[in-house]
Amino acid sequence: MLSEVRFEGVHKIFGTENAVEDLNLTVNAGEFLVLVGPSGCGKTTTLRMLAGLERPSYGRILIGGKLVNNVSPRFRDVAMVFQSYALYPHMNVYDNLAFGMRARGAANDHVGRRVRETAEVLGLGHLLKRRPSELSGGQRQRVALGRALIRQPQVFLMDEPLSNLDAGLRVQMRAELSRLHQRFRVTTVYVTHDQVEAMTMGDRIAVMNAGRLQQVDAPETLYDNPANLFVAGFIGSPRMNFVPGKLTSANGRSSVTFLGITTPLSTGARLTAGADDSEVTVGIRPEDLMWRPAAGPDCTLTLAATVDVVEPMGHEAYVTALCAGETVTSRFPPRSGVRTQERVELALNPARLHLFDAQSGMTILQRPQAAGVDTLRSVGEARTNDSARGRSERQGEPEARGATTRSEEIS
């Protein structure tokens, strides 16, 4: 059964501190939504409220259309994977997996069958007699996952489940989680502070900061059209460059001046009302700020800069340079041969510029392809449904097919 999750005006206050403020968010049935943000942004609190481990101070939480504010975690039919895995240390893998089903009064032979099926799916078949202390980190992680999978809940909740794994295993488990979601299509809310996990796993990403939802969108949309400075800076590595600029308009055409150059805004881009003639923050992604010899023909702007630091990554190099008194980072091809203190020319495609209001930090540039960047106001259903559907189709996994697969294989 696929269930939608909905937060309506949810607040959570601890003492005098607002952990979550006015959260309005819908997680579509069968969707994989990633909640991402820095430590203390309220993402885990949001997840815990959904699990029933914290009660919202205000607002409504609905699972499958049913109000669950006062429903105990036992009866919410959600499964949660904890950061620490939270396995029962005194039980073996079999009993850990079986605990939830037994608690719900399932018959012994049914429990046995499901444990073996789930263990098979996760490659735990040979470990059923072991205790958690006898398992490796990756195996424990699988048991925690299996404990959630086995119950066929309405919603999966995952609280940074990969953060305790080493880098290699994390990449492997990331792919595995995505595969499991493709297969079972259970509505999933996944909390992480790792933007790579967010970008690679989420159908949509919800970015939170200081208790407030900043933007909800498909990964590419979020990357290309961040709603504000926070989202722009948080998503993307290395971080987007921010430099001060000034917006002017003459003869109905707007231009922006930054880093000592002035360029008209690309045709098609539209400024939000009242944004003319103001101080702005110009955002440039490092990959859009190229080394002139490696740049394409649409990089019509050229900036002179002095190399400060070169960080070779193997497949590319991050070059930090001083340009008109500002420090900027750009991505260079590997083995470009540039050295510290060398004068270089950087190239930039004006169509890739991001503009933010210097005061509010909100984006003021709307691109033609962005169907509504001011998501703070418009985390509306029509659009979010559309973007989630668009992504499912791109991945070649229509929901109906996912649901059939799940019922065949897990029931």
Binding site: A51, G52, L53, S72, P73, R74, F75, R76, V78, A79, M80, F82, Q83, S84, A86, L87, Y88, P89, H90, F99, G100, A103, R104, R131, S133, R147, R151
Partner: protein, 297 residues
């Protein structure tokens, strides 16, 4: 490892530094003089006919197993041993531990004002001097006391009717705070995510306690049992102040009997032999608990 044999002695092995002996000497002397010596001496006295007064107080001799044989035929000793076990199992192991656990669980889930008030009251009972507790419970259980009024038999003296029960409950009342504190600390240290996982998985409160919380508390439970057993096995003041071992020998636990034999009947040798049995009972309980504490986690 194969390499270990070829490279000579390991550099990181632990070695005793003989120079530290000088530093340890005062501690060793105190330990030997004040602890090991008296214990061994008491062990020896237990196998003699030493008396507190009279000729045997000077001319005592080693009597082999005579004290042991005497014990086996001593009706008071047998009854006393049984009462001691009853007292320790009933008042300490079952009563104090179960009630301490219940209080700890209730207080864990209680709102702050209730937690503070109940916690304080329980701890005050523990802080009261034993002699005061004895007085309170003596008065409480006398004919015309609160208990008899509550039960509607004002002429009944419950300290005479059910003396062992009354002293056990008095002891439980006083000492329950200890177990409560131990269990409260244990509950606080449980991994909260594991308990939350059990809750999200749909386990009822009873199931969570039975299958998750109590098994995880096992080391705390064993430590508590070990401590309350040792503490209660030698309980003397409260019982003696309330009943002096009576009526008859109805509350003569081994510590009371040791006192009577050694200091009332002046049979120091025999009294010491009985106290060795007390040590033996304590050792057996401790061994059982230590075995149980070998955690499987």
């Amino acid at each position: 490892m194969a390499v270990a044999g070829t490279l000579g002695p390991r550099l990181d092995r632990e070695r005793f530094q003989w120079s530290s002996l000088l530093m340890l000497a005062p501690g060793l002397a105190l330990l030997g003089g004040l602890f090991l010596g008296p214990v061994l001496y008491a062990f020896y006295i237990g196998f003699t006919n030493l008396a507190l007064v009279g000729s045997r107080s000077r001319d005592y001799s080693f009597t082999g197993l005579e004290n042991v044989t005497r014990m086996l035929g001593d009706y008071v000793f047998v009854k006393s041993s049984w009462l001691t076990i009853l007292f320790v199992v009933g008042s300490a192991i079952v009563g104090q531990s179960v009630l301490g656990m219940l209080l700890a669980i209730l207080l864990r889930n209680a709102v702050v004002p209730i937690r503070v008030v109940v916690g304080s009251v329980v701890i005050v009972a523990w802080v009261l001097p034993e002699i005061t507790v004895a007085l309170i419970w003596y008065a409480f259980s006398q004919a015309g006391g609160t208990l008899s009024i509550l039960l509607g038999h004002t002429s009944s003296n419950y300290l005479v009717l059910v003396p062992m029960l009354i002293v056990s409950v008095a002891n439980l009342w006083r000492n329950v705070a200890f177990s409560m504190l131990v269990f409260s600390a244990g509950l606080r240290n449980l991994p909260s995510e594991v308990l939350e996982a059990a809750e999200v998985e749909g386990a009822s409160v009873w199931r969570r306690y039975r299958l998750v919380i109590l098994p995880l508390l096992r080391p705390t439970i064993v430590t508590n049992l070990l401590l309350v057993t040792i503490l209660n096995l030698s309980e003397f003041t409260l019982i003696y102040a309330m009943t002096q071992g009576g009526p008859g020998i109805e509350t003569t636990t081994l510590p009371i009997y040791v006192y009577q034999e050694a200091f009332v009947f002046h049979q120091l040798g025999y009294g010491t032999a009985i106290s060795l049995v007390l040590v033996l009972i304590g050792a057996i309980f401790s061994l059982l608990f230590v075995r149980a504490s070998r955690s499987q986690v």
